[in-house]
């Protein structure tokens, strides 16, 4: 039982990342009708916003360490961040320690800006083109973006730790009456799950309870009629693209302490997130979220030794297997709407 609870927890945090990326993908597809293969790259750029912000906070000058030499026998130099000079060492160190959560403030305008630039500069030219063209151009853009990141940051993963207050794990075992230490879960993963739930809730609330959201939903249902009413739906959809980019970027920012970011992390999530969108139902926001968590949990269960002993290799195919079964039994996915991508 404790193993099952642990794998459900694992699936939920993995599902959180899938759900956030799939949510953005669905927003873009639902509003603009564009299949955006560069969405994983936005997740990756978000992660590198955290890396960049951490590095900005850590910009340093060198101070010689008396009595010590470096590997070539020259005087050893120690890096002292400028922020120590400005705020004092204790406060400066605390700010650097909290770099990842603080980088959310940095990432939001950057990601919205990148979203606007992508939509206005490239993607708007492909609205009336076939989906195959959209996939090709956005996939190409994703490759360009990841190569740009690799050029500036290298190919190796870059450690970006969580604030020290969130290192360590929470003992669910003791809380739920199991053996202490049998169900422990890292604090930051719990933070990530809570953060994902908050963002998903905020996006739904924005679409459901604001006038802007109402117009966007109306535009998603019938773009032409909304346009005939004199509403500039294109402008609103561009803003939604920026919001979707920010959602992916924030998912990336908060993911960095879970796995050290590298230039390829967007591609690692992209394909799975597309499967999530298809399983959830093209254009369905609740479907994307539900499928994200469902597939995350299933993937976790498929990695259990007892499952692998019975069905070797199932961990590598489970998501695709479930996608096949769902598409055979429910061709529009779990919550897909009639008419989407069917013309």
């Amino acid at each position: 039982m404790d193993a099952i609870i642990l794998q459900i927890l694992n699936g939920l945090d993995k599902g959180s990342a899938y759900a956030l990326i799939a949510l953005g993908l669905t927003l873009i597809f639902g509003t603009l009708g564009v299949v955006n293969f560069a969405h994983g790259a936005l997740f990756m750029i978000g992660a590198f916003c955290a890396v960049t912000f951490s590095r900005l906070l850590s910009v340093s000058h060198e101070v010689a360490v008396p009595g010590e030499v470096d590997f070539l026998g020259n005087p050893m130099m120690r890096d002292v961040p400028y922020i120590y000079d400005i705020l004092g060492e204790a406060t400066g160190a605390a700010v650097i320690d909290w770099a990842v959560p603080l980088s959310i403030l940095f990432a939001i305008p950057v990601m919205i800006g990148i979203g606007f630039a992508m939509e206005r500069g490239l993607i708007k030219h492909f609205y009336k083109r076939p989906h195959a063209d959209q996939i090709l151009v956005t996939f190409g853009l994703a490759i360009v973006l990841q190569e740009v990141i690799k050029y500036f940051y290298g190919a190796n993963p870059i450690p970006t730790p969580a604030p020290s207050a969130f290192t360590g794990s929470f003992d669910f075992g003791a809380l739920l009456g199991f053996d202490p230490g049998s169900i422990i879960y890292p604090y930051w993963r719990l933070v990530y799950f809570g953060f994902a739930a908050l963002i998903i809730g905020a996006v739904f609330a924005f679409l459901q309870f604001t006038t802007f959201g109402m117009v966007v939903r109306a535009g998603m249902a019938d773009r032409e009629t909304v346009g005939l009413l004199g509403i500039n739906i294109d402008k609103r959809f561009t803003i939604m693209f920026g919001i979707a980019a920010a959602v992916a970027g924030l998912a990336g920012v908060m993911y960095t302490p879970i796995n050290s970011p590298n230039y390829h992390m967007g591609m690692d999530f992209l394909v799975l997130s597309f499967v999530v969108v298809v399983v959830g139902g093209m254009g369905s926001l609740p479907g994307a979220v539900a499928a994200g968590f469902l597939l995350g949990v299933l993937e976790s269960f498929a990695s259990m030794p007892v499952v692998l002993d019975t069905l070797p290799g199932i961990n590598q195919i489970i998501i695709y297997l479930v996608a096949i079964i769902i598409l055979l039994t429910r061709p529009r996915g779990l919550m897909g709407r009639k008419g989407v991508m069917e013309d």
Binding site: A3, Q7, D13, L72, G181, I184, S300, P305
Partner: protein, 446 residues
Amino acid sequence: MSKSNLTRRGLIKTGAVAGAAGLTLPTYLRADGHSGFTNAPTGSTVTLGFNVPQSGPYADEGADELRAYELAVEHLNGGGDGGLLNTFSSKALDGTGILGKKVEYVTGDTQTKSDAARASARSMIEKDGAIMITGGSSSGVAVAVQALCQEAGVIFMAGLTHSNDTTGKDKKANGFRHFFNSYMTGAALAPVLANNYGTDRKAYHLTADYNWGYTTEEAVRTSTEAMGWETVGTVLTPLTQTDFSSYIAPVLQSDADVLVLNHYGGNMVNSLTNAVQFGLRERVANGKNFEIVVPLYSRLMAKGAGENVKGIFGSTNWHWSLQDEGSKAFVKSFGTKYGFPPSQAAHTCYVQALLYADAVQRAGSFNPCAVGEALKDFSFDGMGNGPTLYRGEDHQCFKDVLVVKGKENPTSEFDLLEIVEITPVEQVTYDASIFGGELGACNPGA
């Protein structure tokens, strides 16, 4: 009575086809492409082919390999401070190139993909006339390129490849490896683990699902079980896996008190980070502190894992903090040119380039079969690993192996590992027949 169908038109057609085929044949298969062997140098220069990952997940490691090769070429041509030429026990090389020919080089991008690596190696051999191919950061790539070089009739000097198979079941007469292997890791690491963690341990292995992962798991399992450890679980993880939490969680449910991560590169960074996040470093199991082991360390990868490597044992082929004359000379030479210490990948690649050049010089010929003979059973010193033997039976170098540990208090971003033991070569030597395979005959490509 025989009947000939030969006609004038048929003869012209056949001749045209044969002529076209002749023009399109690979250089190394054409009679004018060699003088008894593939790509025999005819002018005043000789071209080496450096096949390293310039893109893909190991691009940083590949960049360090390329730096090392460029430094080797500089030293072979008499530039710089001479580096390891000053400490190398063989004095055949004199800084005038190889056999008086100035060394030039071409590069290829393996992308850490076997097919791409073979294509780039083939291009360097056929189009650029490379006489030797060297480099790489993956055993899959090494085995694939080694087989190609065997067919093409050029020498392959492997870069960073740690699987037993490279000089085991997949060994080739034209292929040579300086880097150590999984067996040596197991043999060197197990006694250190037993000394530090005791002989009554239960180990759980997470293993990358490919060639190198299998041989490393087998080597570490065999060696630790011989010391009294019990293996309570082994799970293969997909090479593409990025989040290992669902593989770490079952470790908590098992009665293991040691986790062995048979992972390299990004896999190692992520699995180790996840294991530390799940509190395994603070865990107590079976009345003992839970321990994590990373059999193959790389400083470049350790940097990616950050603080998580502290106190964790592993093995490495070479480390810049060694204090022998060869290591000091190489660190000084590389550090002065590039501003930071070299990685183990850079070291093995630099040494391989010099060993090849020295073998040619001693053989007095670029003929790969003559070079191979000069490398076989060649004993040398002064290259940073102590006395070393290029064993003739499998073309594997035998030398001391370093057991290292993540440093608790690093003084710089390069100071991540500390050497805890230099395992003597006798302890890591094995019978060449245990891994099977046949070297076969040397192929000069003629």
